[in-house]
Symmetry: C2
């Protein structure tokens, strides 16, 4: 940068001004500086910039990648969030951490990321405490049991289940079961909230668990009593298996997974891209000093069989 300044016959401060558009610079000098930068192949050092400004313009999406593999919904969160960040002049990277929070503590408060998008949120998530005690700005994709005051975006499970039941009812189904998730994940919001919504809304509720594999879904479906004519399925891979035996309606599926079905499928599409985008925008607003952003709850949307 000093070289650029010398070559253009100005001070480094002026170079900085044209780089950032911070202060007005006459067209003539601006041109000289830009020429000098081009000739020297100058690239500003983002680390030094980050140090001086006390922000890096980097956002970390933390994902417990060291534990679960990245699923199709997570991939969609990531892609759309990264995209949204880019249009707002931030970088969003996927930061792998274990789920225990040790790595998270290391990442945070060291000034590397300006803020954090937290995914795979548990109802009682120990990672929140870390973020709060280090006063790191953050937004959740998902939410805890008591998310009051937090910045989050999440699926509107009530509306989603309602939509699903309504749709099946319109098709003439009256006895509708739910194939839910593995009951061991009792602290996982989507499972708990979907079940709760279903139990509240369904006429004659029947819930059976299933792991997130086609085989498990198929087995669960075959255990259903005969009067059940249709079934909501929470896990997308379980839905794939169950679909071979019953009328199923997957509640949270991505188009990628739907494409894996051999028969065309009507399903509820996870609003993953929208959530990723909203989360990023909420986080950035927060960074720019907006007050507590209003949380967003989005329902999955009906995707009719082609």
């Amino acid at each position: 940068m000093r070289e650029v300044a010398e070559r253009a016959g100005v001070s480094i401060a002026t170079v900085s001004f044209v780089l950032n558009g911070t202060k007005p610079v006459s067209p003539a000098t601006r041109a000289r500086i830009e020429a000098a930068m081009a000739e020297l192949g100058y690239r500003r050092n983002v680390v030094a910039r980050a140090l001086a400004r006390r922000r890096t313009n980097i956002l970390a999406m933390v994902y417990p990648a060291l534990d679960h593999r990245i699923g199709s919904a997570a991939a969609e969160f990531f892609t759309s969030a990264a995209d949204a960040a880019r249009t707002l002049d931030y970088h969003l990277v996927l930061w792998p951490v274990g789920s225990d929070g040790a790595d998270l503590r290391e990442l945070v408060g060291q000034g590397l990321a300006d803020g954090v998008v937290l995914t795979e949120v548990q109802l009682h998530d120990p990672r929140l405490a870390i973020l709060q005690e280090t006063s790191t700005p953050f937004t959740l994709i998902g939410r805890t049991a008591e998310p009051g005051g937090l910045s989050y975006v999440d699926i509107d499970f009530d509306a989603t289940v309602d939509l699903a039941l309504q749709h099946l009812h319109d098709q003439g189904h009256r006895d509708i079961a739910l194939i839910s998730g593995d009951p061991r994940f009792e602290d996982y919001g989507p499972y708990v909230r979907t079940e709760a919504a279903y139990l509240r809304l369904a006429k004659d509720p029947l819930v059976v668990p299933s792991a997130n594999t086609p085989a498990s879904g198929k087995a669960a479906a075959s255990r259903l009593p005969d009067h059940i004519t249709a079934v909501l399925v929470l896990n997308e891979y379980a839905a794939l298996g169950a679909a071979s035996t019953r009328t199923v309606l997957p509640l949270l599926m991505t188009p990628e997974t739907a494409a894996l079905s051999t028969t065309p499928l009507t399903y509820l599409r996870t609003p993953a891209a929208e959530l990723g985008r909203l989360a990023t925008q909420a986080l950035i607003q927060q960074l720019q000093g907006a007050p507590t952003p209003t949380p967003h709850l989005l329902p999955a949307t009906l995707q009719e069989r082609p």
Copy 2:
């Protein structure tokens, strides 16, 4: 850091020494400094540290996430690479870029990442030129048409196809076809190299293309002449569909995808975790001044049906 130094009655240099173990410090002062750090809740600022040392200890895995979604193999690369990086005291993050290279150029040479792991490498990959002209250390997962002198890890397609044909031959199959990838991806190494290996090794070769979906794989399989008794399938999702009609042997599958099959599957497992690990290690060796690391070629390994 200055506060820590004052509280411990030493200079900031000494604090730095205990932080990094750079120089010997007497046990007594070390204890005082550590106490002071604990009391103040001090965390070193990684940005300042990176500026002073001219390296960030961050590695970027660049993935064209803005174009394709992240597949199961990519997820596995990422996870294992991040893990390997961690044990060597580096952080590896997933950096989303478009495939055109504009974002890559921005990322690189700005001093944010010490090195790059490049994925989804094309046979003629324009991104290589960018990395080379900015003299960024990098390692490929995959390889270009002429990878001489480059640091890379990749699948040994010859050995993989050989292993596959051998296995099917042992089972009594003599007429073995290949369901390959979408011919539009003519610059994609795995497709090209697998086909080449198959054409060279198979007795009476027959190649049919397929997109990476079960439906497409099934259609491709149904188009095969009757004397074909077994088929190698390149794309894992295509393999899922083809498996319902023929004896198939998927060439590059991940366990996650295999779990989606309703019937148990014998398949060749992509050595994704190993490749991710090796790539990271090669990159870090390079950063630490080792000469050109020797490339690694790994075959997929046979995973017998349970």
